[in-house]
Symmetry: C5
Subunit: 352 residues, 5 copies
């Protein structure tokens, strides 16, 4: 019953209690209900708990969309209407729930993270719960997002497989919309990775390194969402629940392929970043080599010359060279000879 987030507050609580562990939800909860079959569609918004109706009987499909999971009362009301286990209600309220799927016989509970690019190079992550029962789907999320809006529009538009198939197909469509969001996020990562790679080749500095590590860490976080998602969809696709009909399985297999693709792309990105880091580090070390080379060339050329100059700067009374008319030119000549030898040596080494 206890999640990481309710460590501080409410430790002693009964396991089946409903407390939303996030920040207090000041926004009112919105419950939108869509009932449809091939020929009809009815859409309502409910603001008071008592107004939430029981789902229609199949073949009609009822989609109850709850925006705002901080209100434990609403969640419990819905739970009472369709008969949801207290632990599931608690999982729905928990917005740090690990992706998972649980088959309670009467209903399937699915918790996943919904990702979306935030437009400024990062991504938002939100907890979404889906409950698939006989003839109904209930979706729970905190922020009213537009990911599901497109499905609503397709439903309103009427004709199409979505209207003629059952609740399991709606369930699939919602899941598919969620997985689509992952592709958008991955694209954002792809662009950032490309930018960092160019920077590493062009003009790497300490900030580039920071950027690489931020990316690496984000990828670890992303992967932590993606891998369990993959497992969840794999379990769904195995088709062991009677709530998912045979023809829908092939669509779930399609979603599964997408999650695999996302997971593989994340792995590839991780390998890419490791490579980029290596390039950065090795370019650092190669820069160091160049610095050392320059220092060594300058120092080893001038140190002997300075020594020669020092010798003839000595004040000994008896230094015959100093009196000789050719002394000075000879000293300069010997300096040129030493410098030339050094330069030839470095040339042979391939340094200059």
């Amino acid at each position: 019953m206890s999640r990481r987030d309710d460590q501080t507050a409410g430790r002693d609580a009964d396991p089946a209690r409903l407390i939303h562990p996030g920040t207090p939800g000041l926004r009112p909860v919105t419950v939108t209900i869509l009932e449809y079959d091939t020929s009809h569609l009815r859409e309502r918004s409910v603001t008071r708990r008592g107004e939430i109706p029981a789902p229609a009987l199949p073949p009609a499909v009822t989609w109850i969309a709850v925006d705002g999971i901080h209100d434990a009362g609403v969640i419990r009301s819905i739970g009472d209407i369709v008969g949801i286990h207290p632990l599931t209600l608690e999982d729905i309220s928990n917005n740090h729930q690990r992706p998972k799927i649980e088959d309670y016989g009467d209903y399937l509970y699915l918790a996943v993270r919904m990702l979306s690019a935030d437009g400024i190079g990062g991504f938002r992550s939100e907890q979404v719960s889906l409950v698939l029962g006989k003839g109904y789907v209930i979706s729970f999320q905190e922020e009213p997002g537009d990911a599901f809006e497109r499905i609503r529009e397709r439903l309103r538009a009427g004709a199409g497989r979505l209207r003629s198939e059952g609740a399991d197909y709606l369930f699939y469509a919602l899941l598919d919309a969620i997985v689509d969001g992952y592709f958008a996020v991955i694209e954002v990562f792809g662009e950032r990775i490309e930018a960092v790679e160019e920077e590493v080749v062009a003009d790497p500095d300490q900030e580039t390194l920071q950027a690489i590590y931020v990316l690496k860490r984000s990828l670890i976080a992303l992967r932590r969402s993606v891998w369990p998602l993959r497992d969840v969809v794999a379990e769904l696709e195995r088709g062991e629940s009677s709530l998912v009909r045979e023809p829908t399985l092939v669509y779930l297999r399609d979603v599964y392929d997408h999650t695999i693709e996302v997971a593989e792309t994340v792995e590839t990105y991780r390998e890419t970043m490791s490579g980029t880091l290596d390039v950065y580090l090795s370019s650092q070390s190669s820069r160091m080599n160049e610095i050392m080379k320059i220092l060594t060339i300058i120092a080893t050329i001038f140190i002997p010359l300075t020594f020669i100059a020092g010798v003839y700067g000595m004040n000994f009374a008896y230094m015959p060279e100093l009196r000789h008319p050719w002394g000075y030119p000879a000293a300069i000549a010997s300096m040129v000879a030493v410098a030339g030898t050094m330069l030839l040596y470095f040339k042979k080494k391939g340094w200059i």
Copy 2:
């Protein structure tokens, strides 16, 4: 029968003998017995071995809580009453037991480590054994901790699922309380990791490195507790024991989810620390680069100038430049020219 800890003392001992391998327990053993059903609850503390009663018959539930596992006699007495295998008794006495679960048919034996934050940035780890039998749970621990106290309070408070369900639900509640402790410890680690990361970016020194390694090692130790715990709960949750009833399994699955989350967080922390170590090492090497750069700039600028000064410090009798009125200004000018060229070169290199 032989554990690592009794290598030195008592090697020849019979395998089924009971010796607590830790430090000698000077504290007296406390045995607290709670008997309850939906309507009644009776709580007693027992101080003498002979007073320990046989568990009540179901549907009543008896919880025998033993604080202090150093007294082999007490453990054996309880073992005799409910019929526990000598090897299990030995495992209970051993406070370095690896987490495990064993199904002896009549009872389930569970050994786990109970972790709790110690308030000063580290964590305490203690051996806890749980025995689940028909209508009773026996808990063994060395230090009387408060982790189970909250459950006792919920039991005393009366109404609630805990009072109406059987011994397996109590067993679950105790296990859940233990797993909760892991989250607290993980939070502590999270904070320490964050602190180290800030230090690495702001002002890393050799001590930061020490801190990173201490954390890495603690995480290895933590992981060694967490992974077998996960396996243990997974085995429980599979529901192969007749002592755990069907409705309780869903709660154990919940505990299993928590252990997975703990295990994943520990892995993420390990990856984070590896990244942090890389950042530290690379910042070291980048600092080295900077040092070298400064040395190289200063040395390569002044070494040629010093050489020029040296040349005109030579004491040759015939050095026409020395007599020339413009000699000195010319020498200074050539020095400025050399220094300027060098500076331009370094500017082009992007060093200054």
Copy 3:
């Protein structure tokens, strides 16, 4: 329904819709139809959708080869004729499809990447879809390549196992031709790796490093094609589909062996490149050592000498050595002694 490539355009689309996500196909689609049995072979090219015939009845085999997957209409027409699921049609149109095999009962759908060396050191990668039904094989690819042309020639040539066996053998032959292309690509990689390795030993520079990383990344990409291919062929070879007859399985096992060999070679190449990178890095560091050695030798020899010269360049009024006739030779002698000692020391160290 949504693939990564249709993120931007057509997000709201119905899952079963057919949109080719690549660049708009300006080239007209070519459909080539081969119908054959042991004694007859008929070959046609179809340019208008309506002309595509239903496959002949077994034992005749029909091979419909579609070059150009950008025309959703053509794909749908063929799909309608032989009864292909909308999701499969979508997968066929998607030219970034992950390699996979799907058994729809009536037909087997296989998506793989076809690789071919591009003649300039790289490789081309193309999406190929194969559909195996009762008595027919349909192949879809974008670029009309010559990989399948050889099989066409063998069919035209007449006699041979290809003509006498069924559609599953043709399916095998096409798959085998695709896997052959991987060997060609691997050979190209082998040559490039060898070239880089020679460069690393002979004359490594920053470009060598770039080449190593480009190769490493290409190998990651290659591996991403190869590993799922291996899984796909493994699933085929298990022989769970009724469309693949027993005698053909042994040929598929042969193809499987080839994919294993490709996968292992790629792994070996990856390990080789890691080793090559290590050699590069360590040769960098050993070069640094050499630079430092030269600098140290020169500096430590001349710095003391220059100091001695400096001492006798001082202008103190009372420096008796300066007046002594042997002063100068003694100074020079002491310099030679210092330099000699240094050289001996370095010789002992094994530096010179």
Copy 4:
């Protein structure tokens, strides 16, 4: 039939031949026979082959302990008496046998390595073979060790589970004694690792590095003994042999737990050594940084000063500063200013 050790001698030999591949055993072979049941115990030493008796009938238990496996004749004699397969006899003779267990129906053959601390910081490793048959256990080892002596004493002491249980319990007791030896060795490693870790922090030098690598290599060797041991005990504990009775399985499970603990400790030690190596390397690099810093500070402070001194050491005829009464103090002052600026810069950098 051929082991690595008989590569040089006896390659052509028949597979079922018995040749001890170690050093020639000069020590005579000792065979000690213990026959016991709950009430009686008889102990004999046998020196001639012909004297080895057939095992007593159950419920009596016969333990034949062979010290010295170099005498193929003795091993074959025993093999003939109880009916052991030639390949098993060969495995017994081979003292580099990989740990394994083989069920021949009539008997179980177990080969493990017996480890014991050698008292000087290392460990001894010896090949031990156990054969468990109906009513008898035969143990083979080269060196007469004391690990089994304690069991002999417990048997002689009489009462106890060991005397009342069957041959499988004796088999377990021997195996348990062997696994106990691993804990002793692990303790030795623990101490050496601790010593190296302290050295790394306090005063690391090249010898510390050597010590780290020696430990790492020893741990690889240790692990190579431990992992197969774990597998062997796991197979035993699964209880598929009819020679091991149900009640003994719980004891074998206990031994299995111990092997797991040994294996995990070895893994932890390996990780610890990797961390220690990293600390060593990074302390090396940090020491280098410090050296560079000192050099840079000294050089960059004095090089400009020396240049200034050099300028005023020039012998130009027209250098007005030289004549000026404040020339010298001004020069000194400018030197102090340069040095001060430098020191301030380094202070700002946090170097001094």
Copy 5:
């Protein structure tokens, strides 16, 4: 049908065609036939295809040994006689075949690599194919080696298990002889690794590094032969083929143990080489440290001294120290003081 080696030539070929992809075999093919039972043995060499007889009926065993796999005709002739699948014939001809085992019902096909030390520190690798049928074994290899000669001699020698057992035992004996060759190769590696390790400690240079990498790469290649071999023998040992009788399985299990040992030794060698590489790299870096230390000591001692000398080498008219009788001794004394302070500092640092 196409292997990597026939990429260039014969791409279009029919899959079942026989072309040896290696260098053209100029050596004539030798076919040696051994027929034996407990009492008789007949040995023949065949030079013309037509002379190859059908295998004798069991219990007689026929061993057809083919030396030279470049002659597709011979292989096909034999294939026709005993009924071998075209794909198997192709695998036999391919001398870069990956180790594998295939059960065709009538016969077992086994392809492995035969290794042998080449006497100059490397090893030779050759493709060997074994076909086990009812009452016969056919062995194919290119080079006539002596590995099988010892078995021939044991057969000729008469009495022994080899003569009295069936074809499966001969098959085992041949496989065992092949695995023996691996031990010889491993021994060679062991010696080379030891030599490199001594070099790393004693006197490492760039060539040592090269040697380490050559060894690492050879070990990768070796491993690539060993791992599939292990899998192949494991499959054999599982005993699913009716061609291998129960009593022979225990011998195959013995061979399996040997392959495990080889595989583990290769892994240990790989780990050892990684450690050796680390020691090399760290000794490089420690050498660098020493170089830097020497440079720093010399430079930091003399640079200040030279500065002092420079100061008193200045030509200012008014420098009172220069006139003072104690000026020179005082300057020298201050130099000694500076040098002494430096030396004390370095001593404190533990550098000298």
